[in-house]
């Protein structure tokens, strides 16, 4: 397998931090955000072959933020785009037809917001910040957003938040080397940390930069400054954690020996089941589960092999990798070199997952 560069999307004036594919129908749309304080909306030519180099920049969104936009995320229905910025605010844009307009900004974090994520139904939004806190917001009618919970637990900068693909379980990754899992109390009054995936048990030994679930949500992969990827079994019901603090989510395997610089981004394709990583060595790598292992116990003897390594994917650090939500061979990446790249996976038999397992909003 290899990656073929479909198109290089230039336009940002500073490093590109993150990209987000818009879920839903119509032509493929990708949002990218940057140190230049803007979000760019890129659209693929309707009707063209998925791998054709027909991407154009449709919009530059610059109304929301006065500093770096660190991450942007589409809601599951593809109508709202949330942004997280170093100016300590979250921004919200709405896409109506071909127009995208800025509709709201919300304050609360003390300083740099690092990440933002929608839950599977689009009713909740999570954010995290250098202020060490994780916030959960509820999306109300009329462009109103209310704070549902402010979660303190991490002892350092929180780098990323992401939701389970079907359940309202939130996961956060931090500079304190831990991954924390948050769920609502049984009485529904507040949220709390239900488990922490960290040393001295199995866990990363340096900053955790990224986390991503597989399509069904029974596994999660994390990437770290400790140069490893870790795969976790997330099938257990983690809301009913026992008081002894034993994490019901189990470490399955560590993918080590492949990266020699910080891994900034990891993404588990919900279509082809492959894991992509983006790292400080400018490379994109793709991993697949070794399937010739015959084991009766789930997770036992599980291992992953690297199926490709794209050298010099960007001229400097790769900050973000994201698989297309529907096209099994498309991957987008963002780098410190200020460009977004669209890649096509060439060769190899893709283990296509059934569409039923996709958690995307059918309304899209």
């Amino acid at each position: 397998m290899s990656l073929r560069l479909v198109q290089e999307l230039a336009g940002h004036d500073d490093r590109v931090w993150s990209v987000a594919w818009r879920p839903g129908g119509g032509p493929s749309v990708l949002a990218s955000c940057s140190g230049d304080k803007t979000v760019r909306i890129w659209e693929h030519s309707p009707g063209a072959s998925p791998s054709s180099a027909t991407w154009v920049c449709k919009a530059v969104l610059d109304s929301a933020h006065t500093r770096t936009v660190r991450q942007c995320e589409w809601c599951p229905a593809g109508k709202l785009l949330a942004t997280a910025s170093f100016d300590s605010t979250l921004g919200m844009y709405e896409k109506i037809g071909t127009e995208i307009s800025f509709i709201a900004s919300f304050e609360g974090h003390e300083n740099e917001v690092k990440s933002v994520a929608w839950n599977s139904s689009g009713s909740l939004l999570a954010s995290c910040s250098r202020d060490k806190s994780v916030w959960i917001w509820e999306v109300l009618p009329g462009h109103e957003f209310e704070c549902v919970s402010v979660l303190n637990g991490h002892s350092q900068d929180v780098k990323m938040v992401t939701w389970h693909p079907s359940r309202d379980i939130l996961v956060s990754a931090s500079y304190d080397n831990s991954i924390k899992v948050w769920a609502e109390d049984v009485d529904g009054d507040d949220w709390r940390c239900v488990q922490t995936l960290a040393a001295p048990g199995r866990g990363h030994t340096s900053t955790v930069w990224g986390i991503s679930f597989n399509a069904t949500g029974d596994r999660m992969v994390s990437c770290s400054d400790d140069l490893t990827l870790m795969v976790w079994d997330t099938s257990a019901d983690c809301v009913s954690t026992s008081a002894d603090g034993v994490a019901p989510w189990k470490h399955l395997t560590t993918i080590s020996g492949y990266h020699d610089r910080t891994i900034f981004s990891v993404h588990w394709s919900r279509v082809n089941g492959l894991i992509a990583s983006g790292a400080g060595d400018d490379c994109i790598r793709v991993f697949d589960e070794l399937r010739d292992n015959v084991s009766t116990l789930p997770g036992e003897g599980l291992s992953y092999e690297m199926v490709l390594k794209q050298e010099k994917a960007h001229s400097t650090d790769v900050n973000c990798v994201r698989w297309h939500p529907k096209e099994p061979r498309l991957l987008a990446s963002a780098g410190d070199d200020g460009v977004v790249k669209i890649w096509e996976l060439v060769g190899g038999d893709l283990p296509l997952l059934s569409n039923e397992s996709l958690p995307y909003d059918p309304r899209g």
Partner: protein, 479 residues
């Protein structure tokens, strides 16, 4: 809010947490690449993201002067907890308290909050009255001159708050009024929301500072003492009360004579948390349950001749409830009897109540506890969508009974079980009485302050708030 470290290490995760942005620019931390400073000045050897202009801007502002952090700086900041902690440990600690007793230079007076009293009572399985008497016995045994009760000064705060509310309501000025008793909230509002919110905060002093004013500016003469001869200690459910006591707004001048200005004095010299009382008991090898139940100092304590404790309803001071009843009566001629019915909104820490006349709400009050709810309230006020006339705001979820300085749950006891126990204990054996009928506060007005809301009462019982500017400290790290 910088000093709530006890809550942070505890189980509660919803309060105004420390952040990294210290207002004091930590100049000595600034270095050139290739080292990047992540949070708290930890060095991460990695060259990534050093090119960011914000980082360079911060570096350019650095100087080589040594960093000095004063308590006043910490008040303006929720930056680092460590410097605030150090300063507070030096100035307001059990050690400092004991050394004051040892030197014997000043008369040591202790004022116990009813929330701390409930925490002690729940912890030791005694009634609030027993806890108060044992606490008094212990304090007297180590040399404390008098032990008072801040429920008493709280009645004064409540009366002044009632007066303030009615005045502002009639003037329709800066509504809603937001309670000022929680220093965590006040500190946060000063630092984060400044001019948008500060005019809304009640000018009335908290029960702690009201007690400070009473003790040092009035009651000292009853004790045969000059204010500068008193070392006044309060026992509070909250670490941030230490910061409150240290505010420059609560420094006053003693007697001025022809040659000199009066000595500068603080209303409260030292704040100990309930947890620190446990430390004190341990230091003195005292078994609380076995302590003698000493007679109470009724000079400034809500206890009558038959040893009946009395006070207002509400674990966080009963501000909303007390002011609501007063306003309903004075403004609308409605006597509200029986318990007030609060409607729970998003969660149990966001409740509201209203008075309706002819189907229209004429008074709308709320109790808003915990950071998440404060966020939503503040956003509503800023966007002009807040309908409330008065909001009792407390930074801690469940309010002051769950303060960061309260005794932690015993092993096997859940935080929720403990707070429920303290809530029951708090109300146990306390007779609910209208602050206006309190003979002690009546005496204070008659002999000292004039009448509720008088110019003198406002001068002594009110304070002010200050916007605190953020500095470059918040821009050190950028990735």
């Amino acid at each position: 809010m910088s000093a709530n470290f006890s809550v942070k290490v505890g189980r509660h995760n919803d309060f105004i947490s420390p952040s990294q942005a210290c207002v004091v620019s930590l100049n000595s931390l600034k270095k050139s690449s290739p080292q990047a400073f992540d949070d708290d000045g930890l060095v991460q050897i990695q060259s990534k993201k050093l090119l960011n202009p914000d980082f360079n801007q911060a570096s350019a502002l650095s100087k080589s002067d040594p960093v000095k952090v004063s308590l006043h700086d910490c008040l303006a900041c929720s930056g680092c907890i460590t410097s605030a902690e150090t300063v507070l440990i030096e100035q307001q600690s059990t050690g400092e308290f004991l050394s004051q007793l040892d030197t014997g230079k000043k008369a040591v007076v202790v004022s116990l909050s009813p929330q701390s009293r409930a925490s002690l009572a729940a912890y030791y399985g005694v009634t609030p009255l027993q806890a108060f008497k044992k606490f008094t016995g212990f304090m007297k045994s180590i040399g404390v001159r008098a032990v008072f009760d801040t429920s008493c000064s709280r009645d004064l705060s409540l009366i002044e708050s009632c007066k303030e509310f009615v005045t502002r309501f009639r003037d329709n000025k800066n509504l809603p009024i937001l309670a000022s008793a929680c220093p965590g909230w006040v500190c946060y509002a000063e630092k984060t929301h400044g001019a948008d919110i500060l005019p809304h905060i009640s000018a009335v002093k908290s029960p702690q500072q009201a007690m400070g004013a009473i003790v040092k500016r009035y009651a000292c003469s009853s004790l045969g003492l000059q204010p500068e001869d008193i070392y006044h200690v309060t026992v509070m459910p909250c670490y941030d009360k230490k910061l409150e006591a240290s505010r420059e707004d609560f420094v006053f001048s003693g007697e001025v004579n022809e040659e000199t200005d009066g000595p500068q004095m603080t209303e409260v010299d030292c704040v100990l948390t309930t947890t620190e009382v446990l430390d004190l008991l341990a230091t003195k090898s005292a078994d609380f349950t076995a302590l003698e139940e000493a007679p109470l100092d009724r000079l400034l304590a809500n206890v009558d001749e038959s040893e009946q404790l009395f006070g207002v309803q509400g674990g966080s001071g009963g501000y909303a409830e007390c002011i609501f009843r007063y306003a309903a009566s004075v403004l609308f001629g409605k006597e509200v009897t029986g318990p007030l019915k609060f409607k729970v909104l998003r969660n149990s820490d966001f409740q509201e109540t209203s008075l309706e006349i002819g189907g229209k709400p004429v008074l709308q009050f709320a109790c808003v506890y915990g950071f998440r709810n404060i966020q939503n309230l503040v956003r509503r006020i800023k966007s002009g969508k807040c309908e409330y006339h008065y909001v009792e705001i407390m930074a801690c979820p469940s309010g002051c009974l769950n303060g960061g300085g309260q005794i932690k749950p015993r092993k096997g006891q859940s935080a929720k079980d403990l707070i429920q126990l303290i809530e029951v204990t708090y109300a146990n054996d306390i007779e609910i009485r209208d602050p206006f009928s309190n003979k002690i506060t009546q005496g204070l007005y008659d002999q000292w302050l004039g009448h509720p809301g008088s110019a003198k009462a406002c001068e002594i019982m009110q304070t002010q708030y200050h916007s605190r500017e953020k500095t470059v400290g918040s821009y050190i790290s950028d990735w």
